[in-house]
């Protein structure tokens, strides 16, 4: 880790801490939303950027996490226990869903998860004895930790920041462990990784399940933030939005999804002055980014940086050789 990187991390932490000061409730809400989607997008990044599989069910896992947390906390269970249930349930469902899909190669995880997301929506909507149906669940409590009550917007923000930092640290640790290195091997050359004795299917499955569990965690935070959930908030469109966050930010980069989530959550806000046209402009921006920098914004930044300091690159070490 370079000194520059440590400095950057430090600045980022400080920025997170002072960002909401003196801001209205709305801005704090948007910041919370950004951090929660960052967690979800980081989870998808594990599946997509490191294990190379497209999952289109991240919103469904957020939904599963949100509903479990909502139902449990509304029944009087503490959030800490509820979030544990949300994460484990998402992990187990991820395993069960990914196992059969990953036996067949190609884009089949994408297809299965796409179907799964809509199925989850249908169950959440139709089983109204449990989920409140299309009317949703209203009045989800925010957690209390002894004297620290997160009912107000600012304390809730710091609570989300803590969850975010813990998740990010766990993720960083995971990626630097031997296991995480195996991941990189998998992404860069699956056939070689396989021939070196890595069980690629099991690794991919684990990546997908952990990514899904992070979706569950994001959901468990979103339910108390909004204090209302309904099935329509967890449809395929949201999954596509999270996918967008990862790719536009830069998949396979640690900070890519965080940047992407910021863009997707804040951009409509910044483009508000364009009235009804902001979605059009937004779509155009995404197209332009994808056409000119398929590695996303972080990739673009690195390219720009690299163009300032010329480097010798050995052609025989190039990654992602086509086989």
């Amino acid at each position: 880790m370079t000194a520059l990187r440590i400095l950057f991390l430090f600045a980022f932490g400080i920025a997170l801490f002072i960002a909401p000061m003196g801001q209205g409730n709305y801005i704090i809400y948007v910041l919370c939303s950004w951090l929660i989607f960052s967690i979800s997008a980081m989870g998808l990044n594990l599946t997509l950027g490191y294990a190379g599989q497209i999952s289109l069910a991240q919103a469904a896992f957020m939904g599963i996490g949100a509903y479990i947390t909502a139902l449990l906390t509304m029944a009087g269970v503490h959030w800490i226990f509820a979030v544990f249930c949300s994460i484990s349930a998402s992990f187990v469902i991820g395993l069960a869903l990914g196992y059969p899909a990953l036996r067949v190669q190609h884009h089949f995880l994408a297809f299965v998860t796409l179907a799964f997301n809509t199925l989850v929506f249908l169950v959440l909507r139709n089983e109204d004895w449990l989920t409140g149906g299309s009317l949703g669940l209203v009045g989800i409590p925010r957690p209390e930790f002894g004297p620290f009550n997160t009912m107000m917007q600012l304390p809730f923000y710091y609570f989300v920041v803590v969850c975010f930092l813990i998740t990010a640290a766990a993720m960083a640790w995971m990626l630097h462990s031997p296991w995480g290195r195996a991941f990189k091997a998998l992404r860069e050359n699956p056939i070689r990784a396989n021939s070196l004795g890595l069980n690629t299917t099991r690794m991919t499955l684990l990546a997908f399940a952990i990514g899904s569990a992070m979706g569950g965690l994001a959901g468990a935070l979103q339910a108390p933030l909004v204090q209302f959930i309904e099935p329509g908030s967890f449809t395929l469109i949201l999954s596509l939005k999270i996918l967008l966050m990862v790719i536009v930010g830069g998949s396979g980069y640690f900070f890519g999804p965080i940047l992407g989530a910021g863009l997707v959550v804040l951009l409509p806000e910044m483009l508000r002055f364009t009235d009804g046209y902001y979605l059009i402009i937004y779509a155009l921006l995404v197209l332009v980014v994808m056409i000119f920098s398929p590695q996303g914004l972080i990739g673009l930044g690195q390219k720009l940086l690299a163009s300032f300091k010329p480097q010798e690159e050995r052609g025989d070490l190039k990654q992602g050789a086509q086989l």
Partner: protein, 292 residues
């Protein structure tokens, strides 16, 4: 009995149109190995070209349809390929998937902003006369839709199988590098594929809109159904898309009548998952040799 017949007849006429959208999906998959998430919007848009031609420029219906066809070839075919797919193809499928999502959003929002947020009635090409078919009602329009959809898909199949250009296109789809070595103009063949997709989308749009009405958000449901139909039928076979489309049309109706209206949307999805588990290449598809 009349009930079952009605379900079958209605399902087939809806399914024929799903098939048209699904074929385009399959074609693009073969040509560029990408999932076109804007396919639903591709079917939504040409109807608005027709409407704009008629209401803004005062064209008669046939001229508006002709203009819409040309615009679809240009925009949904050539421009889509030149401006979006071509520059992105070397970077793998993921950025392209995202680009098609953005493109779908762009098309949807543009129609909403520049034409209308509300559904629009759409002129029908065929008489709406209803026939009694052993107790089931079927309109002349449904029959014509079926015939046009079948004709379009069968002639496409013949074109691909029987003509030189068609075979060159198939070779390109299977392995562009080998095709290139064999002297096929790969770029042109890929372009043909995109043009055909544009034309099919326009046909589907003009057939579907009198019944389903023209609305900016129509692509959402349609794209999803086309997608399921393409996978269920077999992603690498044109006739797979036809079978998949018809099957989804019928199954949707059967599910709504006999199983559960609340879960009708779930049945095709469950079918999709089962097909992927049991027969990943689809009902009509052939297994692809590539593993990575």
């Amino acid at each position: 009995m009349a009930e079952l017949l009605q379900i079958l007849v209605s399902g087939l006429s809806a399914g024929a149109i799903y098939a048209l959208a699904a074929v385009g999906f399959t074609l693009l998959w073969q040509a560029s190995q990408t999932i076109n998430f804007a396919q639903g919007e591709f079917v939504m848009l040409p109807a608005f070209f027709v409407l704009a031609g008629m209401t803004i420029f005062g064209l008669p219906l046939w001229a508006a349809i002709l203009t819409a066809m040309v615009l679809s070839l240009l925009i949904l075919g050539a421009m889509f390929k030149k401006l979006i797919v071509e520059p992105m193809l070397p970077h793998g499928t993921l950025p392209l998937v995202i680009a098609t999502i953005a493109l779908g959003l762009l098309m949807k929002e543009s129609v909403k902003e520049f034409y209308s947020a509300q559904g629009q009635p759409f002129p029908t090409l065929f008489p709406q006369h209803v026939l009694d078919f052993f107790g089931a009602s079927i309109s002349v329009q449904d029959i014509c839709n079926l015939i046009v959809a079948f004709a379009a898909i069968i002639s496409l199949q013949l074109f691909l199988g029987r003509t030189r250009t068609g075979r060159a296109m198939q070779a390109t789809a299977q392995d562009p590098r080998v095709a290139e070595i064999l002297g096929v103009d790969v770029k042109r063949m890929v372009m043909y594929t995109f043009l055909i997709n544009g034309a099919l989308a326009a046909i589907a749009s003009i057939l579907i809109s009198p019944v389903y009405l023209a609305k900016f958000s129509n692509g959402e449901t349609l794209g999803m159904i086309a997608f399921i139909a393409a996978i269920v039928g077999g992603f690498n076979q044109i006739k797979g898309a036809l079978v998949g489309g018809l099957l989804i049309g019928v199954i949707d109706n059967v599910a709504a009548v006999y199983i559960s209206a609340e879960y009708r949307a779930a049945i095709p999805l469950i079918l999709l998952i089962v097909i992927i588990m049991v027969r990943p290449q689809g009902i009509m598809g052939t297994s692809e040799g590539r593993t990575v």
